[in-house]
């Protein structure tokens, strides 16, 4: 039996506007409707959908930042109630997520420090994480000295040094230029293959989904989003964007997002 890394059972999400003295409590529309999903250990899983479809909401629920309205969210068999270091998160906005008053090295060792690892225990782990993402030459720099791609490397490194079971990435390369994005995608695959972490990757970019994912979950449009379909992609890595199989996959995915429709 394959051990499930993440298991979602009948997850519903509704945002509640805070009840105020003047406004009567309103029934808000559903954001997520009956999400059921199993993500296997070590899988590279993509959430693909249009902006505002609720894929980031689901990711935030799995990360523990948002409460679900009903249903079950299990990570390694345990119900998610709060954020935790078993789920490393890489945010799209690195400038807001990294601590600008810490050097690259200090950012990457932050989580270990909070867990009271001694300096002797931290050093090899941090150095290894920095080396893995290719930042070992920039350990003593401050974030403002780094490019956008390097900042995302810092986020990945600091997650890895906490040795999470799952790496959650929320449109991590959305703000990067096309060249850097391609480099970072290859880097992520390399890191994934080396660390064998389960990866949950949110994107609205069909090309990116086709290039990276083993499984691609396609979200239906808002409101009351659901996972419309989960596609299994068994093309070997590294993938070729211009190969016939990739082009067929992109065409197939495109069909789920008709232009003009929604």
């Amino acid at each position: 039996m394959i051990k499930n890394s993440i298991e979602l059972k009948h997850v519903f999400k509704k945002y509640h506007a805070p009840a105020s003295f003047f406004a009567p409590k309103k029934e808000n529309p559903l954001v997520l409707q009956d999400i059921n999903l199993k993500i296997a250990l070590g899988e590279f899983h993509i959430f693909l959908g249009r902006s505002g479809c609720g894929k980031s909401t689901l990711l935030n629920i799995i990360a523990g930042f948002l409460p679900k309205t009903s249903g079950q969210v299990l990570v390694n068999g345990h119900e998610v109630t709060a954020p935790g270091r078993d789920r490393g998160v890489v945010f799209q906005n690195a400038d807001a997520a990294i601590f600008p008053w810490l050097t690259v090295y200090e950012n990457v060792s932050y989580g270990l420090k909070m867990q009271h690892f001694s300096e002797k225990e931290r050093t090899p782990i941090v150095n290894q994480s920095l080396k893995l993402v290719g930042l070992d030459q920039h350990a003593n720099k401050y974030p403002y000295e780094l490019s956008g791609g390097m900042k995302q490397r810092v986020q990945i490194a600091r997650s890895i040094s906490n040795d999470p079971d799952i790496l959650i990435l929320d449109e991590p390369f959305g703000a990067l230029d096309a060249q850097t994005r391609r480099i970072m995608q290859d880097e992520l695959i390399r890191i994934w293959q080396k660390t064998k972490k389960t990866i949950l990757f949110v994107t609205h970019d069909i090309q990116e989904a086709a290039y990276l994912g083993q499984k691609i979950s396609i979200f239906s449009p808002a409101p009351a989003s659901n996972i419309y379909k989960t596609i299994t992609v068994d093309h070997p890595y590294p993938r070729n964007v211009f190969s016939k199989e990739n082009e067929e996959l992109v065409t197939e995915l495109n069909n789920y997002f008709p232009i003009g429709g929604h």
Binding site: G84, R87, P100, G111
Partner: protein, 289 residues
């Protein structure tokens, strides 16, 4: 200039020739003047030169006891330094400002952090803060004299009061304005609430705290001068206020300039501290970028 005049007399004169050619001495002179003016303006010196000019002219047409000239003020300052009055008053005012400002900051920063962090405390204390911050320190002077006596304590208490509000308010703003992504980053790395408070919230609020501390210093100077005018036997405020008894407008001018220098120099030192020591917290980020 020679070129110009020769051109002006030549027969084939067009509109273009009337304009000053690019390489004449006149053009160079204008360029030099312009650059010099720009330099003085950018360095903040032009305003001082203008003020000085207005002052000199105004003092020429008015009575010396009504408006002393810059020169007279300088000589009076020299006299005050010779008798030791100026140094003495300056030192005492500085010590009062420093003591009150440091104590005020030490109380106000933690208070602001706690009020910003805990909503329930914010709901509890914000009405009081928003009420008393509009009551100037000087309004409390008589009460403080009554409560703390005529000695140094009442004056320092007044400065503490004046310093605290800008620091508390700015610190609260800094804590509230923290990007939730920073908190979430720390949470997903296993940091506890207390760890997040000291390792994320406080560093994030540093730029705002620093702004508050700078504003607090300004408040401290205003408060001490007012207090020294009404209830002290020394200090720059006392110097300015007693000058009226001797009809020494020149001493008043000396006092005013000393106050300006105290403020300017202390703020410059503080900014330097911010730029060098607190740079990594994003203090003066906009200025350096």
């Amino acid at each position: 200039m020679k070129e110009m005049s020769s051109k002006n007399t030549s027969k084939s004169q067009t509109l273009n020739d009337l304009e000053i050619p690019n390489n004449t001495d006149a053009h160079k002179g204008i360029e030099l003047f312009r650059n010099g003016l720009l330099f003085l303006t950018k360095r903040g010196l032009l305003a001082w030169l203008l003020l000085l000019a207005v002052w000199v002219i105004a003092s020429k047409v008015s009575d010396a006891s009504f408006l002393p000239s810059p020169w007279k003020t300088l000589i009076s300052a020299q006299g005050l330094i010779k008798t030791g009055t100026l140094q003495n008053d300056l030192l005492i005012s500085l010590l009062r400002i420093l003591a009150g400002w440091l104590i005020g900051s030490t109380i106000a920063i933690p208070l602001g952090l706690i009020i910003g962090q805990f909503k329930i405390i914010r709901y509890l204390l914000e009405p009081l803060i928003n009420f008393f911050r509009f009551v100037p320190a000087i309004g409390f002077l008589t009460l403080f004299l009554l409560w703390f006596g005529v000695g140094e304590i009442s004056k320092i208490a007044l400065i503490i009061y004046a310093t605290m509000f800008p620091i508390i308010i700015n610190t609260i703003t800094g804590v509230i304005a923290i990007d939730p992504l920073k908190i979430e980053s720390a949470q997903s790395q296993g940091a506890s609430k207390f760890q997040i408070f000291y390792s994320v919230v406080i560093p994030s609020a540093v730029p705002n705290i620093f702004t508050g501390v700078r504003l607090g210093l300004g408040g401290a100077i205003i408060a001490i001068v007012a207090a020294e005018m009404l209830a002290a036997q020394n200090g720059i405020g006392y110097l300015i206020y007693t000058s009226r008894l001797y009809y020494r407008t020149d001493w008043i001018f000396v006092g005013i300039f000393v106050l300006g220098f105290i403020g300017y120099l202390s703020d410059t030192l503080l900014r330097l501290f911010g730029k060098v020591v607190l740079k990594k917290y994003g203090v003066f980020e906009k200025e350096t970028k």
